[in-house]
Symmetry: C3
């Protein structure tokens, strides 16, 4: 990646480029306008399979040779895609078994991209062929700067190919049917398997699906997609191993366990389309950026796709108002993105996404959007010194696909309206508002070096992660944990010896029953220091053991019982929320506990609407100040003398930000 | 059943026991804790097919021998299940045609219990085999006290096996295709059948299904399930006919006509899970208990499954608060249950219902739930004299599956948002609140001995029932009937000669048109005595003949026309509601009419939140007083001197009840 | 049609008659009551295929001979139906491939009418046979007055027969695959077709369907149904070509392009069931009547089906209150219907529509409904001079199926909750309320002779229509157009050179981006004359070129920018709404612009609840005054001396109308 960074002179700036949609005259205009906009990188050929291999085994590379040369001549690097996300119509026409099968057993029809069963051997064979041909031809082309393996891996299939691979996967996981039967608790409702061939993918059943079977199918599907990725990655690497390889992930994507994927990539890359209709979408964007930085241990990541303005995939597609695209792009950079890229360069005239905005919109170069793109290109150029720098954090928040699947993919919980991303964002937001740097950890991540660990509703968690959390606390860490954590093991089986089986000793309390609240039910809660608040949604029927109450219910059947528990564990401290506290009280409690753990933000006191973050290297800090408010300005003390890279101006003391204003202050390290 | 009652010494107390989920050490603890809790009966093997016959024709009875012996040694009787509700995976793997087919023609997949087409000959053959084997082995085992045939019969299938059996069923019902064509009115829209082979199950059609075809398919499906039951029952009876046989029904279950099923059982048995989130769930529970007592002519019934606390099948599963489980159990007993049983003994660690509460919860014996179970076991023991006693009523309310299907299963009514159970509960509630004992009658039930008959919205009713109602009124009975009754015959064909074809003479009025109300439309109504109220939802455009108006509309296009009609018929009286009166006015009218029919409750004046009922025999009355309020106490005059069986205390005059308190007063008959 | 009019002596009055549902004695009563009611025409045999051809090739015409004779003897004309809307069960039993296939690939089952794939060659062959037999036998029967080809053409199928025909249709449309690939923009997402056999019907895809493929499939389906119609029409015409031929269309029916169909019929015919629960249903009815008159260039049309009171196809079926059926019937006549017909003559006892009201209801002849029918029959008789007369208009409103499909059938617009009929009604209503006569035009219609053209949200519009609109304006016409018009061409491809590609010069403005509004977002708008109002839902980010602002935004990011644009174009004037103005301000603006175009209503000042329309011929005007208010009367100046045909009274000056009152004044032309 260092090579790549050097090649593009800092940040990659550009977008998906689909020249096969356009005539050759348009290509010339494209390249001219790209240069005008400061584009230095494009993702090429993402959906070009049909154009590259119009018939099985018949290839047409001429047009791509031409465009690769043209881009290279104009100093634009290429992130070359294997086009396997868009199997040509001839493939599914010749081999209908390639179509993914729906949960109800029915195949999807043609009419889209990504219409393949990732387990299909036919698909995999054709995908390997086109990948090989492409790598043969372009591995040493001077425009090639990166490999973009397929696109937004996601398809799930419930067909026979998936079933066969699922069985193989299960054999690998469990070894014996006895072990599978135990893990899946098949004695319940008499579902015991006696032959591997009886094990099928989880088609829609008469009532509810076995929860562990469903869970394993999610794990399997993620792995089946990963196999597709690895096969193509290995092909391109076999030709040349000094070109970075990535595939583009998606925001809050439930169907692939990115913790398992990221180590197989040279850079984590994200496609993100924060919804302008959602006033808080920049906060969940921030979380995703932190996640993507964390996926590869702090290594800068790539913002691979975003939109210049509105998208077209929703019922209601709001535009990005003036200044918002710039601010969002800088936000990604502030959280360690080393690229600012878009889908797509030029707006399509037809097809499903004809109203998805582009760098060059339908209204042409004389348009607000293209002017903003050119301005952004200039600014990104000025930020070159920031590329490659990193950031650090004392706080880690747990976010894991197993935990997600446990809460959302299986039915039969005390309440079935948990949203994993909502609860994670609920825990992340008070830290974001207080300008705390936060890393994200999965079940298998190391917790070394953190002072505070946040564990939101970790219903399903494996023994190793449980042990690591205990060790973290034992060694002096502060754990903030929310209700319904540690309930089941990795097989989705309730841990024995009373709730929460995994954490009873850690939180110092035993839970007799989980008491979901009725709709609109609200409970009074009193803190030990007398402050009063309310709670909703959930209560643990909890009995203190070594823990003590930080807050208790002030009414209802649990009056006087603990609502928030504090426990000393080893050298550490555990704070456990046994109910859903009203947001302000929750935030204040989290903030206080974080402070008591010795974690301070250098931007304490700055209003929440100004996002403040720091990247840096041995020589410099780069302080990003991003004002998300369109109404209010702000004045932010940066604690030092420096240079605003966006303007080139020297600053010291306070930096004034206009509404939607931004500054990136380079400050020499002491 | 008398034998069974003697064997358990009064009430059966216990639950479903699934030892195949657990190791042998757990069995020992189970039996010890069962004894501690007063358990005297368990339902065994309900989902054990896969454990008993792990491969086709290969049986493993050893573990069941062991557990039967163990239970017997510990004085626990067994209600032994034929395990046919949970076909093993090998069965559907070998014979996929056993899977039920959905309405859209697609088969369900494996992953559940009850995944069989009840018409499948393959399923029936295998079910007969395992039943035979089980009966051979255990019919004379000393633990055996009852046969539990399969479980919660319910599956519907739209496959070829169902189609073949449906044709047979139709031939039996109609004899000729001409008769079927007439009954189904197939000349409408040109759907005339000319060959039996053309008749199929009602797959999803392009727009709306023929309503009589749909209705007959519901009847057929209930009968197909009943055939499954009968086949297994006859097998176990062929070995020994002095063991009672039952199958467990469900609360308000629309898919099986329990009036046809009940005579084939030795005891009616009910699984019921009143939703704690619904503040009135104990009232609909009371109705179901009355129904189950009535299904076999007043014979005590069995509460076969309930939960100790929360279930897990809903989106939101609220716990039973302290005292509620006890109160609900006593409520069932008060309405002639002779058992208090639960699903299930020990909470499962995994599987679909891992969070369904149990007698022995995940939190173990040291838990609120298990303490309440033990207390309940003790109390149930003290009630032994009540077992086998009966109750009586002057009021009957009509509730029939044909009527239900007519209102809810077919499309094309003046309005299609009728809820049969809602309307039945609307008529039942004023009687429940006033402590009237009520029996439930079906279309085919005798009406002898009642003073008042309530007929809620009997849209579809057969000629025999119509005749019986006329006779009841003619002989002096009081009939309370609501709108949209007597409209169609058993073939769902509009009865000729003006609405309501069946009851025009009975109610003394002809209805020109049915006028459903617009949403939120409200009409003023004035009673003959000047009281004013309102009505909504529906109006008959009704013309009085022999009837007279008890209330008339005070506004709207029907101003001055009858809203409630009274008619003298023979020696009897008919009160007909032609609109949906506001609840309070409706209740008061029903109460007044009941009073005028000479029916009085012995608990007149007791607040509605205290449920008051009486069981009895020749020697004693057993007065049950159950306070459903968690806030208010109450003092109830019991009219005599007696003993509270729960406490052993003598009482006379008034009995004081704490919030959620209960008393069961044994009073000698005069 | 002139012959037909003469034959029935003015207006056709009657309904669908299905004698095959009834015994012969009923037929005699039917004919007697028909005469009593003034019935002169019935639609016969619509669903009689199963009764006419009970087995393949075995015909039973005896009963139809009899009923044809009986009707003829009683002076009742027959609109004889080919019964092909209701394929007999034997057809789909013998040939299951006739069943239509759902979008998910699954076939529908039997249980309904119209269960055929219109592309099925088997269906077409059998349909041709029965049509031929029928035409052979009855073409010269004296009762025959009209041919009713099939019924409410509508089925869509996604099966193999449809796929084959779709390919043929596409070959005809595009000639080459290259042209198809370009039109469908298949290079986007790599969906390029290389062999015609690869092109399939648009089954449900993994995410979104190619929008042009979907659009073409809608066009194809309409054409496939039209082929079915044409085949049957040509058969009956081959026997005798002096009998008018029609098929019955439906209100606001999205699935058949009636502009293409109407030229193939001798009369446009409409089935319409305005929902009495909708207080404005008479306004959308008026629009449909204007459409049906316009479909054949002003020629009187046929009201082929309506209901006497409630229907039964909805969840809630409200009755027509007294007087409403009469008023609705006269409304159709006022807008050039030459018939008043009903579905159906006698209410069915069973089947799907047993509660659909009829001319002769379940309550028999002694009923409100039948009395109203008889009164109506008498009144329709008195209107005979009106039959055949026409009406004229200065205003045309554009309504086109291509435009409809563009807005509603394909996903991916800036917002996807456009309702084409809602927006059309929004533009039509202010004209209706001000008693303006309005014609409806499609994309291909001539605009000659109009002063004002209204173009609601014409997102998709072809080049010829675009040229015609330009010419209309150039020649002095006034165009009123709403946002999101002229965006894509007939292939659903964005027109180049900035929005709105088709109309940039016409409206004198360029649009940079489309800005859908957030939910509940409201904008202040100021008119040039200072009036203030608000706007919601949508804003164009619009830059004036030759146009000038008639109104501007008074707040928000577009403050000061144009919200309504006025442009001089040639000799004409264009007013363009770039946002959704609050209704009153929109109506006032439209009314003012219409007035400024020199269009005046002769009923200016009459309250909106009195609908005022004129039919006429060389000798007379027939002024229809219909008071839709059930509360308020009205006095309407008719500007001349005349005769109320309904009463035979002379009137001059003002006509007084009671609530729900009506008058039809014959006034000699000056």
């Amino acid at each position: 990646m260092e090579n790549f960074r050097r090649r593009v002179g800092g940040f990659a700036f550009g977008g998906d480029y689909n020249p096969e949609q356009w005539d050759r005259e348009v290509w010339q205009e494209d390249v001219r306008l790209m240069r005008e906009a400061g584009v230095n990188t494009v993702s090429l050929g993402v959906f070009a399979w049909a154009s590259l291999e119009p018939e099985p085994g018949k290839y047409e590379f001429g047009w791509m040779d031409e465009i690769m040369d043209l881009l290279h001549e104009n100093g634009i690097s290429v992130n070359l895609a294997t086009p396997t996300a868009a199997p040509p119509v001839w493939l599914t026409h010749l081999h209908p078994e390639v179509f993914p099968i729906r949960e109800d057993g029915h195949p999807f029809g043609f009419g889209n991209r990504m219409q393949y069963d990732p387990s299909s051997p036919v698909y995999r064979e054709y995908a390997a062929s086109i990948t090989t041909k492409l790598a043969e031809r372009y591995s040493f082309h001077p425009a090639l700067a990166m490999w973009h393996i397929s696109n937004e891996y996601g398809p799930t299939s419930y067909g026979p190919a998936a079933a066969a691979n699922f069985r193989t996967w299960l054999k690998r996981r469990y070894g014996t049917l006895d072990r599978l039967n135990e893990a899946w608790t098949t004695r319940f409702w008499g579902q015991v398997y006696t032959d591997w061939e009886q094990v099928d993918v989880p088609h829609i059943p008469r009532t509810w699906m076995n929860p562990t079977r469903r869970l394993d199918f999610k794990r399997f599907t993620s792995d089946a997609l990963l196999e597709c990725y690895l096969a193509e990655r290995d092909i391109v690497r076999s030709f040349r191993d000094d070109i970075p390889v990535m595939t583009n992930f998606m925001r809050f994507f439930r169907h692939a366990d990115y913790w398992k994927w990221a180590p197989e990539e040279d850079a984590a890359a994200l496609d993100i389309y924060p919804n302008p209709a959602d006033a808080d979408s920049h906060v969940s964007a921030a979380f995703n950026y932190d996640l993507f930085r964390s996926l590869k241990g702090g290594q800068p990541w790539m913002l691979m796709e975003q939109s210049s303005s509105a998208v077209s995939q929703w019922q209601l597609n709001i535009v990005k108002e003036p200044g918002r695209m710039r601010l969002g792009s800088l936000q990604a950079v502030s959280r360690a993105a080393d690229s600012v890229m878009f889908f797509q360069w030029r707006a399509s005239r037809g097809g499903q996404e004809r109203f998805h905005s582009a760098m060059l919109p339908h209204s042409g170069p004389d348009s607000r959007t293209f002017r903003e793109i050119k301005d952004l290109g200039r600014e990104v150029g000025r930020l070159a010194p920031v590329a490659g720098t990193r950031s650090r954090s004392d706080i880690a928040i747990m976010f894991d696909w197993d935990g997600w699947w446990g809460l959302e993919e299986v039915f039969g919980l005390p309440r079935s309206d948990f949203s994993y991303t909502d609860t994670v964002m609920r825990h992340y937001t008070p830290l974001w508002e207080r300008h705390h740097a936060v890393d994200v950890v999965g079940h298998a991540s190391s917790l070394d070096g953190y002072k505070v660990l946040i564990v939101p509703n970790a219903y399903l968690i494996d023994d190793e992660a449980v042990a690591r959390i205990h060790e973290f606390a034992r060694n002096g860490g502060t754990v903030i944990m929310s209700f319904f954590s540690g309930v089941v093991d990795a097989d989705n089986r309730v841990r024995p010896n009373g709730y929460p089986g995994a954490f009873r000793e850690l939180i110092g309390a035993k839970i007799d029953e989980y008491w979901p609240a009725r709709p609109h039910e609200e409970f009074a809660v009193t803190f030990a220091d007398g402050r009063r608040t309310t709670a909703t949604w959930w209560r643990d029927d909890l009995h203190l053991e070594s823990g003590k109450a930080l807050a208790t219910y002030a009414d209802g059947l649990l009056e006087g019982r603990a609502a928030v528990v504090e426990n000393a564990y080893g050298a550490g401290r555990v704070v456990y929320f046994a109910t859903l506290l009203e947001q302000e009280a929750f935030d204040a409690t989290v903030a206080r506990v974080v402070g008591e753990a010795g974690v301070r933000s250098r931007f304490e006191g700055v209003p929440a609407h100004v996002e403040c973050t720091v990247r840096g290297d041995d020589a410099y800090d780069y302080v990003f100040l991003l004002n998300h408010s369109a109404e209010a300005g702000a004045s932010v003390p940066v604690g030092g003398k420096g240079t605003d890279l966006l303007t080139g101006q020297e600053v010291s003391g306070e930096v004034a930000l206009a509404p939607l204003g931004a500054a990136v202050i380079q400050i020499a390290r002491a």
